[in-house]
Assembly symmetry: D2
Homo-oligomer: 370 residues x 4
């Protein structure tokens, strides 16, 4: 018997529209108990006052309430990422797991995933080394659950992490990484990404990788500052609705069967189409644009404005625009690039890539069918 | 002796920064009298209250005032297009013309351009068949000036056209195409594009192409309504600062020499990367992404949100977003696609593509060096 | 026995925060079956893609699900109005009705309210005379339920009405008032307001007032065009989530007891503070600013940008701002004026005042305690 | 002979429209050499990428070029403040000075003003005690020029001050108050305001007031942090176009004649209408709303969102809105309040009130005619 991953990319008419998920459940194509996690790309601004994320989670919970026990629902990561700028399409991605008798021909490593949730953080821990350590441990735990044996077999780690509000700052008597709400989103995402990088031994400083006591100071110094330290496989979103960190690890494992696979690359900057095209060529076995799109089940990417204010020496205006947040600009722009290469717009492009890929770039993972 | 086209793409630190143009003039690389037109991609919102366009024109006029006679400045089209969403780069494009002894080896058709300016429109003519006719004639006039012999040799026509304000509506005693300022921008762009399409015989209705009296009704019925009528080479921007239409025709002619060329394609939708890549492959002689970028002098493109609310069947949210205009979304998204294919971000992507390419798509022209 | 109106203005930490309403129910201060309607001022953009309204309704329904039968919930108007620009405060207003033995001293007319819901409109009826007639009848029905005997005793009518989406337009085979979603919001609000005006005999054209067959053409001609026709007591919001019109009539009646009262005025333009101050002076019995605020339970107002582009001859920029919708500008601006006069910011200021007060102005109603 | 102040509030059709100023000059109502300073309220976003300020200054300089020597233009403060949210009206305020034979009856203290410009700041000085000291000295210098004898006679000090860009940060080798551009605007405004407060002895810490060496540390600790330290008369705007601080001091002096006067108050929070009404009552001699508006020549005010996220205990959403900057919200909201009290919308309401009035409040000054 092998574990089999299933991935459904499902349209959403508005943030509360779970209708198409419900249909799959009604048709018994997905068993509610098989669902490992639900990701959603919702059409809000992706920033502080983006209520489409909470609205979508509320709708999912309402839909699942008659189908699962409350603790099962609580244990299911629901990672909503706001912002479908440009031509991007709001959609759900449902990850589910079933078992099947192993087809012998199917002995290649296949898509594998599992989740883990940290304990609730104290406000004083958000965006600080404690969060790095908690995420590192959760990644290890989820890898074990997913039977992914090596860090090299991990291709994407999606994290939903907390942020600081004025109430939480007060609760910590001001002993917090920052008193600024928007800044706390950035630090929380950054700390989560460094946790992934530690777990996957991606940092060039082995002391930080090791997570040793001695490394604590270096880690603290890196969060939100040393952009040379980054994970090629982390994708973190911060939200007001939780104090835990929810971690979904995706990779490949011989313990899993079926025809699904995952691969990833890193865009070195916001226009690094060649890196993505090389990944797509490997998947499609053809180097034409938009080839093999029908085999692609999900695309997960991070985008951000380079902190230098330039892309390959040409000035960009994303950081100076007081009307539109730079994260909105970056999602739409990188979304256009990816959609042009892939041939459709239902892409999970998420903004705010602190320590997630190099400055101005970001990880891209693709789940596909062989 | 042959006419020689020169194209300079020049950085801009802010909408008033003409410093780098000034330097080229000071170094006598460009003679002020050789300048045919100046295009600018400025960092405003590209919509009604985008004052970066007027600011840039004011700065250009101030810079040119000591160098040219007032009537020379007045006769020079200065086409500012607002909006550098995503990673796009604000920049100037200076088109100039000089003469040189014809190099025999250089007998291929080369880049050719010229401008024409219509008489001032009456407010009652904006967005109506009269504007179509005036632009059609101006395109023909500019083609003649540029010694471009056939409509097939025209690859791009950039138009700057007027819009209606409440004062202008009053002046016409309400006999106007629309009383809404934003809508008048759309109708004026559309009428200009249909004028180009007539001049280049691009419309599938020959009556409209001919511009016959009988065609007037059909033309009137088409403006802003029949999206199946479009030009593959028109690019129109509307601005409050003029009542004329300024037309710059770019194409190829055997009467011009030098190593510059122009080619164009049409994106059928917002993610039609293959069309652009095919054009680039022809230019670079290689089908790799971002090949031959160093030979590309200027990229001129139009982008818009499809009126259907979908791209290849996937929903987009550009038309429902009350925080960001759909033209801003479209520029950033198509800008990302083009930058990924070409390898840099200094692209003249303009929004609002009424009758400029099919619904949701748009023309793309590239000026390059052989 | 007399009917007694109760009005609770309740804080909201985010659009899903029904906690404080729940507390009042838990404490048996409000019986769920007593609730007549719930209004909410939520912190979205108040325009097309404002999902805070749907989120709030979803939260209310979830909270009420264990307390009321589904048909009771369906019959309860939940009128969410998006937009708390400037210093405005998101809040709920819960209207409930109970009975008490009539205190003889309390024989004055007291606050009275009731609701009515029209049948579902056909898409072809939205923004057209059919909607006017349906709303007119619903106002009459709600007045009867509230035992408000004369139109003069009505002080505010809050309506929630539908809008057109592309699906609904298709459903009507294009036989609709407009194909534009944002425009349909405007026409639907306008038709609702004219329905109120008819019911309350507020129009200066008696034919339209009468709603006679002959008046149909005149009514159709007035909707969205003749701004001289308006109601001094209508407040309409359009939302995607319904096809009926939900009507809540508020007024005074001798059949109701208790110490609550309602009064209204009309701001003639966006800075008509004297009209509001006069109303407040009548309520507080004192002409100082911010006097008697503690007796004021709820403030309901409409705001909009004058279509002339000016306020008392001075230019405003609300209609030319492509970054911020004019409805957002107007709510914040009028909100500041009202908050300054009244002394707090929990005011239900709603935007888009078509046929609701004169061009650029709007109705203001105040519920207070004697 | 007495010095006579003249104040013209002049309409502006767009940021480059100096036409109405030109007319006053052509009519010899204002002599160019008499102009002390020009203020402008322009219709941009008032934040980082607000180019309407630079556009307006460029237009003023172009208009003045044929009338004044370059060094006279350079010495004239041109303080543009972006943002006319809500119903606010873009306008110019021209301050000019002439002399007249003293009318004996006119022996009361009259409006007096003068300007001073500091030396160019080093980038390392922006937002730090050095800026505080420079502004303090410039205020003293301008007071002397204006013959304002006592700090108590100063009613408003308008400052235009620099901000930090990435180039300037690099120039200082990173020895700067902040590397963040938007933050540097805040610190620069704050340091300027504390400079005014020192000059006018407004701080409750006498050591800081004195500007003693010992006070340096305390001053440094206060900038951008200790909001209990503020000036009731400072109004600072930061702009990219200068490295000096331009200071315009307005007050009253017996050395000046004529019928103009100035008075000020402080709004304790964003809805402190009573404070403003009291000021207006003093001016108009009547306590009705909108009385005496015709005597009011100019209104200068600061507005900001309270850092607590609440106004008198009610939550506001200005700081959580990622679509609209809190400064835009605050200007529109306070603008509505002031316009309601005064009766017109041509008010110079400026955002970002660090150390300018208490947290969430701000100074208001009125120039009027007796």
């Amino acid at each position: 018997m092998a574990r089999i991953a299933r991935v459904d990319r499902i349209p959403m008419a508005d943030p509360s529209d779970t209708h198409a998920i419900q249909t799959l459940i009604d048709q018994r194509q997905i068993l509610p108990t098989d669902i490992v996690a639900i990701l959603g790309k919702t059409e809000g601004n992706g920033c502080v006052n983006d209520f489409t994320r909470g609205y979508a989670v509320q709708a999912l919970r309402t839909m699942l309430a008659p189908l699962l026990a409350p603790e099962q629902i609580d244990a299911m990561p629901m990672v909503m990422s706001g912002g479908t700028e440009g031509g991007l399409t709001p959609h759900w991605i449902v990850l589910s797991e079933s078992t099947a008798s192993q087809d012998e021909a199917d002995s290649a490593a296949a898509l594998a995933f599992a989740s883990a949730i940290t304990r609730a953080l104290e406000p004083s821990e958000v965006g600080r080394p404690a969060q790095v350590a908690l995420v590192r441990n959760a990644v290890a735990e989820a890898m074990q659950r997913a039977a992914i044996e090596s860090a090299d077999d991990v291709h994407f780690v999606q994290i939903k992490c907390p942020l600081l509000t004025s109430e939480r700052v007060a609760q910590a008597n001001g002993d917090v990484a920052t008193g600024d709400m928007l800044k706390s989103m950035s630090l929380s995402r950054g700390a989560s990404a460094l946790g992934v990088a530690q777990a996957l031994c991606e940092l060039h400083d082995d002391h930080i990788n090791a997570g040793s006591t001695r490394a604590l100071t270096q880690t603290a110094a890196a969060i939100g500052k040393d952009w040379s330290q980054w994970s090629a496989r982390a994708s973190a979103s911060a939200g007001v609705e939780l104090m835990t960190c929810e971690v979904v690890v995706m990779g490949q494992s011989h313990h899993w069967g079926g025809r699904l696979r995952i691969a990833h690359t890193v865009m070195q900057d916001a226009i690094d189409a060649p890196a993505v095209q090389q990944l797509l060529t490997g998947i499609a076995g053809s180097d034409g644009l938009q080839q093999g799109a029908s085999n692609i089940l999900a695309v997960l990417a991070k985008a951000e404005a380079s902190s230098t204010g330039a892309i390959r020496g040409h000035r960009h205006t994303m950081l100076d625009d007081s009307d539109i947040s730079s994260t909105r600009h970056a999602r739409g722009f990188v979304g256009g690039l990816l959609a042009g290469l892939i041939g459709h717009t239902a892409l999970f492009v998420s903004g705010g890539a602190e320590h997630q890929g190099p400055d101005g770039g970001g990880p891209v993972a693709i789940i596909y069918q062989t």
